[in-house]
Symmetry: C2
Subunit: 335 residues, 2 copies
C-alpha cells in the first residue's frame, strides 16, 4: 500500500514531478487530529529530533552549570547553516568546558547553502568540524559529559552515557523501546533510531501539552522549544525553511527539519505535535508539507494564521530568467 502523493511540482499545465509521504498531527493524549499515509512504518527522524536529544542538557543541570542562554540552547537543537555566528557560538559553547573543536566527533563538511559556502571560499576559508551543521548539538553533548564527569572521547558512540541518555528520553516520550534492529548511524556519527511518525508526533505533543510526561521533562522540552522559537536563526540560518516557519508566528510554532525529507514540530499553545516524512527524502517537499500541516493544525483556532501557513505551502517556480514555469504545491488527501 503506497503513501499518497502529498506534494506536486508543475510545469505548464502538467504535473512534472510528485512526492509521496505521510504525516501525523497528534494531541498530548495520543489522539490523531489529522494524518495521511502510513504513520506506523519506522522512519529515521534524523535531525528533526535534536530537541529531544538535547533534553539531557537541561535535565542533568549542564545548561545551568555552564550558563547557556536561549541562543546556546537553540544552537544545541540546530541543523545550522555554518554561518560565522553559528561557528563562533559553537566554539564559545565548547570553551565553557575548556574544550575546543578537537573534541568534536561530527566530522567536517562545507556549508550546505551555496551562498554561505561561496562566502567562505571567497574569504579563503575551509570548513572545520565547527561548520558541521550538528556542531551545536555535539557541543551540547560534550557539555553534558563534562558536567557529569564523563570521558569526552567516544561521546558519539551508542554506548556512551550521552547517547544512552538521549535514547532513553526518546523511548520515554514515544513509549517504545528502540532496539538495534532499528538503529542506524547518522551523518554526524551518532546513532539514530527509526520509529513510527505517529510516535514522534506524540513525543512532541507530550512535551508541548505536559500530558503523559514527567513535569520536569515537559519543562525541559518546553524550555528548549521556547529558546528555539525565540532564537530560530541559531537553530537554522539565513533563508532557511525552519526560520521562515517560526518567524511567521513567533512563539507559536516549533518546527525542525531532518535529512531525507523529515520534519517534526509542535504548536505549544495547542498542545499538538506533528511529524512528517517524504518517501523520497526531498527537502523541497518536506518544507511545503510542514507549512500545510501547521495550517491544518491552526485551522479551527486561528483561520487567519492558518491561511498564512497555507500560503507557504505553495510557491511559484521560476527559471533562470525569472519567468514563472510552474509551482510546487501540497495536495492533501480529502478527509
Amino acid at each position: 500500500m503506497e503513501n499518497p502523493v502529498l506534494v506536486e511540482v508543475t510545469r505548464g499545465q502538467l504535473v512534472e514531478s510528485s512526492h509521496r509521504g505521510a504525516f501525523a498531527l497528534i494531541d498530548g493524549d495520543g489522539k490523531t487530529i489529522a494524518s495521511a499515509g502510513d504513520v506506523d512504518r519506522p522512519v529515521f527522524p534524523r535531525s528533526a529530533v535534536k530537541l529531544l536529544q538535547a533534553i539531557p542538557l537541561i535535565e542533568t543541570g549542564a545548561a545551568a552549570r555552564f550558563g547557556l542562554d536561549d541562543k546556546d540552547l537553540s544552537l544545541a537543537c540546530a541543523s545550522h547553516s555554518g554561518e560565522p555566528e553559528h561557528v563562533r557560538r559553537a566554539a564559545a559553547m565548547l570553551a565553557k568546558a575548556g574544550l575546543d573543536m578537537e573534541a568534536l566527533e561530527c566530522g567536517a563538511h562545507w556549508p550546505g547553502e551555496a551562498d554561505v559556502s561561496r562566502d567562505m571560499a571567497r574569504r579563503g576559508e575551509t570548513p572545520c568540524q565547527l561548520h558541521n551543521n550538528c556542531s551545536g548539538k555535539h557541543a551540547g553533548f560534550l557539555l553534558t559529559a563534562a558536567h557529569r564527569g564523563e570521558e569526552a572521547a567516544g561521546y558519539s558512540g551508542p554506548n556512551h552515557p550521552v547517547q544512552v541518555r538521549a535514547k532513553a528520553v526518546i523511548e520515554d516520550l514515544i513509549g517504545r523501546s528502540l532496539n538495534v534492529d532499528v538503529c542506524g548511524t547518522d551523518g554526524c556519527s551518532i546513532p539514530t533510531y527509526a520509529a513510527p511518525l505517529r510516535d514522534f508526533a506524540l513525543a512532541f505533543a507530550r512535551l508541548a501539552s505536559g500530558r503523559g510526561v514527567e513535569p520536569q521533562r515537559a519543562e525541559a522540552g518546553q524550555a528548549l522549544m521556547r529558546a528555539c522559537m525565540a532564537e530560530p536563526f541559531e537553530m537554522s540560518g539565513t533563508g532557511r525553511a525552519c526560520l521562515k516557519l517560526m518567524q511567521a508566528a513567533p512563539g507559536k510554532i516549533f518546527a525542525k527539519t531532518g535529512a531525507e525529507g523529515v520534519f517534526c514540530g509542535a504548536l505549544p499553545d495547542l498542545g499538538l505535535g506533528f511529524a512528517l516524512k517524504i518517501d523520497d527524502g526531498a527537502t523541497r517537499a518536506s518544507e511545503a508539507l510542514a507549512a500545510a500541516v501547521i495550517a491544518a493544525a491552526l485551522k479551527k483556532q486561528d483561520a487567519s494564521l492558518a491561511e498564512t501557513f497555507a500560503a507557504m505551502a505553495r510557491k511559484d517556480l521560476r527559471n533562470w530568467r525569472g519567468t514563472r514555469t510552474g509551482e510546487i504545491r501540497v495536495t492533501l488527501p480529502k478527509d
Copy 2:
C-alpha cells in the same frame, strides 16, 4: 496505479527513502526490450533531449559552415558544469558567427557543482550567461539561426524557426504531434514538450539503428552521439554521472541526464534507445537507474560489460567521517 519503487536508500538495516519511477528500453522497430512503470504518461524530457534539439545544427549545414568539431558538437548537446573550458568553448562557438554572450537568452546561474561554484568565488568571478549549463545548446541555436539568416533575437521563443525546427525533429522521431497542452517553459527559457517515455526511447532507438527515420536524419543523430561519446567532458563536466557512464564503455553508450530525474540514451551498436523518469525528480535515483537500464540492455550481448554498469547502479553511502551508513541501490521489478 502507481509506479514501482526502482531505487532505495538504506540506513542500517532499513530502507530510509525510496524513489518510484519508470523506464523504457526500446529497439528501432518500437519493440520493448525491458520496461517498468507507466511509460505512456507524458513526461517533460528536459535536457535529456538536447541531442534531438541539436539535429538541425547538423541538418541545416550550420555545423559544417562554422567548422564545428566534436567538442563543439558535444557542447551543443550539453548540460555542462560551467567549468572554465565549457565557458571558453561556448564563447568561441558564438564568436564563429560574430556573436557574444549578449545574444544568449538562457539566463545566468552559478554552477550547480559546489566545488566549481566555490572555485569561481575564490577567483572573484560571478557567473554570466556563458556559465549557464545550456549555453552550448543555445550557442548551437544561434549558429543555426545565423547560418539560415534568421534574426537572432527571440531564438528561444516557441514560434522562432529555431524552436520550430527542434520541435519538428522530435515530432518526427516520436511519430506524434506535440501540442500546446503539453508545452512548458524550460529552465533556460526554450519550450519543452512532454511525451511518453516510450516515445523518447523510440526516438533514440531510431537514430541509433537507422530504422524508421530518414537516412540523413539518422546520420545527423549518430554524428552527434559519436561526438558526445568521444568528448563526454564537454557534454557534462568533472565527476558528472554522464561522464562516468560514457567513459565506462567508450563509444558504446550515449547517456544524457535531464532535470527532474530524467535520462535518455542509446546503445548505438545494439540499435537500442532508453528513457527513464524518477517520479520525484531526484538525480541520485535517475543516475543509479540509468546504470541499471544500461546493464539490462547489455546483459545478453556482453555480460561482463553489463556487470560494470550493474556495479554503478549501487553505491555505498558514507557520513561526514567516512563511516558507511548504508547504500543506494536499484531494485528493478522481477520480470
